[in-house]
């Protein structure tokens, strides 16, 4: 399964893991997401890792390496109402329960390699997301 994970699958499963581990997903600042995937691409030492990771392209014309493909999907989470922001502060992303039910079902199909891969992502997320909340 880990070799079949796409960028979108990975974002969905990681978002679930972050929710379960109380890692707040900040809104209006995509930087931690891009930094997370950038580091993941550099640091993932697992033998079996999803091929999409090596294909991600990061633009270098801003304050952090930024992947347009990732941005498109993150916007998609909002525009399809799969994720909303918590009023009134608009600071944290909240996943929609009906949609996450589907993602949760997919979680049970993940093999050991995919789980290890996502655990690695979660470890990076635990560093990147709180750091950006502190900066915000």
């Amino acid at each position: 399964m880990s070799t079949l994970l796409s960028l979108g699958d990975t974002v969905k499963q990681l978002a679930l893991l972050m929710k379960e581990n109380q890692v707040k997903m900040v809104f209006k600042n995509e930087a931690p997401w891009h930094l997370l995937f950038y580091r993941w691409k550099q640091e993932a030492e697992l033998q079996i890792r999803p091929p999409f990771l090596d294909k991600l392209r990061f633009d270098s014309d801003g304050h952090y390496p930024r992947c347009r493909e990732l941005s498109e999907f993150l916007h998609g989470l909002h525009t399809t109402c799969s994720a909303r922001v918590a009023n009134p502060s608009y600071e944290e992303i909240i996943l929609q329960p009906q949609v996450t039910r589907l993602w949760k079902k997919a979680q049970t199909d993940l093999d050991e390699h995919a789980r290890q891969f996502l655990e690695q992502g979660l470890a990076i997320a635990k560093e990147e997301f709180p750091a950006h909340q502190a900066n915000a």
Binding site: S6, L7, G8, K28, N29, A31, Y38, F52, R57, F58, D59, S60, D61, G62, H63, Y64, P65, R68, E69, S71, E72, F73, H75, G76, L77, H78, T79, T80, C81, S82, V85, Q96, Q98, V99, R101, L102, H132, N135, A136
Partner: protein, 571 residues
């Protein structure tokens, strides 16, 4: 600059030999034009931006086939099938972008002369005023040439030729060169500005200039910088703002096309350009370069840039730069621009008949490319076909006068507006007990790799189901789809590029923080964005039956009332 980019060099040389072969009077060793003496400038009147002066370099390019062919490429593709007055071309748009880019540059120079002269001083040892003149000329040429890569009906054909391996490779190389993702149309415009043909045409023009004691001496320009500006980059990190004037969330291209497309279609959409020009800012900033792409670029342009500094407060190695920004007090202008863009998508670009026309053309071109390939045509020759095409080509031997009856039929439909009809229209606004399945379907369409696969799977299933209903519809699924004019249309929704506002410390404030862009695009997605299934009128019933089975299997919604609500009927 292109020494380590063989595919880009190949495209440049292909374009050079194409220009010389097709237009020997203008390009190549034996070229003779311009023949008569040239005035140093002329004025041209534009319906949107009024009377503007163009320099001799611009005029010689405007009077060449590079720009003249754009007269025959409609700016909004086949939108005139819906908006009869939407007949404006890439030609006047290119002149308009030049005018706006120039006004942005002048506004920055008038209001921030100190910063501009400091930049000039850092990038060149010559007098700052002369450097500024040169930069402005390079910016204006980049604006003029930015759309020269377009082929027939603009973006509809770009989707097809961008699939050629030559462009996949060259796009990859261009993205590596400038450190950001680029498209196939940009590759052609970038490479055209790098051709010998363009350089020699400008050299010849300089020799034909009429004497004019009032004019100052002629200073050389850097065509490498022109090419880089076209793709939003520049030869020096301090010139990043110039690349942004041509290609960014705040660019002159958008400022022109929003108003031109709205005016052409007769839609009362406006934004406040004057306020934009009075508030646009230049801000000292930095660009991170973690993998050294920019360092490699600046070394190759011989801009005298030192290695990127690492460490310090900034997490990655980086270059100091200047960026284009709007202050918070210009929020209302940005708001107008975003609203204009969203409205244009709703009214024009995503109109169901515009999508029908463009989808039909895209399918026709894809089929033709397939036939050319199987007939032994090389990729280079296919590129040349696209360079030869403009919107008039639809009436010629490759289309309406083709020897193949099916090509003639589809071309006839395009030429005479006999367009496919909507059979199903899916929207995420449909409320349904199994709504999350639909939501997941729409979310998967947001992922590039899944979108392609999902649409291909859905179309394959429709084709197979049609053959089960009536085996006479084609020899296989793809043939049945082609003959019935059935396809799945899942357009890219409008995106609001990241626009940063000035006067804030890190993290830079983006427009999403100031007004509800996300909520607007969410509302657009829910109420104005549709995934459609089309068919020729004469096959609507069979396509509808097959599509319902295919949709049910792909989206996994089981209840029939959902599909009933998505079915389109002509009352």
């Amino acid at each position: 600059m292109l020494s380590s980019y063989p595919k880009l060099r190949h495209v440049v040389s292909l374009l050079d030999s194409y220009l010389e072969q097709r237009h020997p009077q203008f390009f190549g060793e034996g070229a003779t034009r311009p023949v008569s003496g040239l005035k140093r400038s002329k004025v041209i009147h534009d319906s949107l931006w009024g009377t503007n002066r163009f320099t001799w370099r611009e005029l010689v390019l405007i009077d060449s086939p590079l720009l003249q062919r754009l007269r025959y490429i409609h700016q909004t593709g086949l939108a005139y099938h819906v908006y009869p007055c939407s007949r404006h071309s890439r030609f006047e748009h290119s002149l308009g972008v030049l005018t706006i880019a120039s006004r942005i540059f002048d506004s920055l120079y008038d209001r921030r002369p100190g910063v501009m002269l400091t930049i000039a001083n850092k990038i060149s040892s010559g007098p700052e005023v002369h450097t500024m003149e040169r930069l402005k000329q390079e910016l204006r040429l980049a604006a003029l040439l930015h759309d020269t890569g377009h082929s027939l009906f603009s973006h509809a054909s770009e989707k097809v030729y961008s699939q050629l391996q030559i462009f996949r490779d060259a796009t990859e190389e261009l993205s590596d060169l400038v450190g950001k993702e680029k498209g196939a149309g940009e590759v052609i415009s970038f490479c055209l500005a790098q051709t010998q043909g363009v350089a020699m045409l400008l050299d010849r023009a300089e020799k034909r200039l009429l004497d004019d004691e009032m004019d100052e001496e002629i200073r050389p320009i850097n065509l490498q910088n022109v090419a880089l500006l076209i793709v939003g980059s520049a030869v020096h990190p301090h010139l990043h703002f110039m690349g942004e004037i041509i290609s960014s969330g705040l660019d002159a291209d958008k400022l022109d096309y929003l108003l031109r497309d709205a005016t052409g279609a007769g839609l009362p959409l406006r934004y406040d350009l004057e306020r934009y020009l009075h508030t646009v800012e230049l801000e000292k900033d930095y660009d991170v370069d973690p993998e050294g792409a920019l360092e490699k670029l600046y070394r190759s342009t011989n801009a005298g840039v030192a290695a990127r500094p690492a460490g310090g407060k900034i997490r990655f190695p980086h270059f100091d730069t200047y960026r284009l920004r709007l202050p918070k007090r210009a929020t209302s202008t940005m708001e107008q621009i975003v609203i204009c863009k969203i409205m244009l998508y709703s009214y024009i670009y995503h109109h169901q008949k515009v999508r029908a026309s463009e989808g039909l053309l895209e399918r026709l071109l894809t089929m033709l490319v397939g036939r050319w390939r199987s007939g032994g045509m090389s990729e280079d020759d296919i590129v040349i076909k696209f360079l030869d095409f403009d919107d008039r080509s639809i009436m010629d031997s490759d289309f309406l006068k083709s020897e193949h009856a099916d090509v003639r039929d589809v071309s006839y439909r395009l030429a005479n507006r006999v367009l496919p009809r909507e059979v199903y229209r899916l929207s995420s606004a449909v409320s349904h007990a199994e709504g999350e399945l639909l939501q997941e379907f729409f979310l998967n369409l947001k992922e590039r790799t899944k979108r392609t696969k999902l649409v291909a799977d859905l179309e394959k299933r429709i084709g197979d189901e049609m053959l089960k209903i009536d085996s006479a519809l084609g020899k296989d699924g793809p043939d049945a789809l082609w003959r019935t004019g059935a396809w799945v249309d899942a357009p890219k929704p409008p995106s609001v590029e990241e626009v940063e506002l000035s006067g804030e410390s890190y993290p830079v404030v983006t427009i999403e923080n100031v007004f509800p862009v996300e909520e607007w695009t969410e509302a657009y997605q829910a109420h104005r964005y549709f995934v459609r299934i089309y068919s020729f009128s004469e096959h609507v019933d069979v396509v509808a039956k097959a599509a319902r089975i295919a949709l049910r299997s792909v989206i996994e919604i089981k209840t029939e009332d959902f599909f009933d609500s998505c079915r389109r009927h002509r009352n």
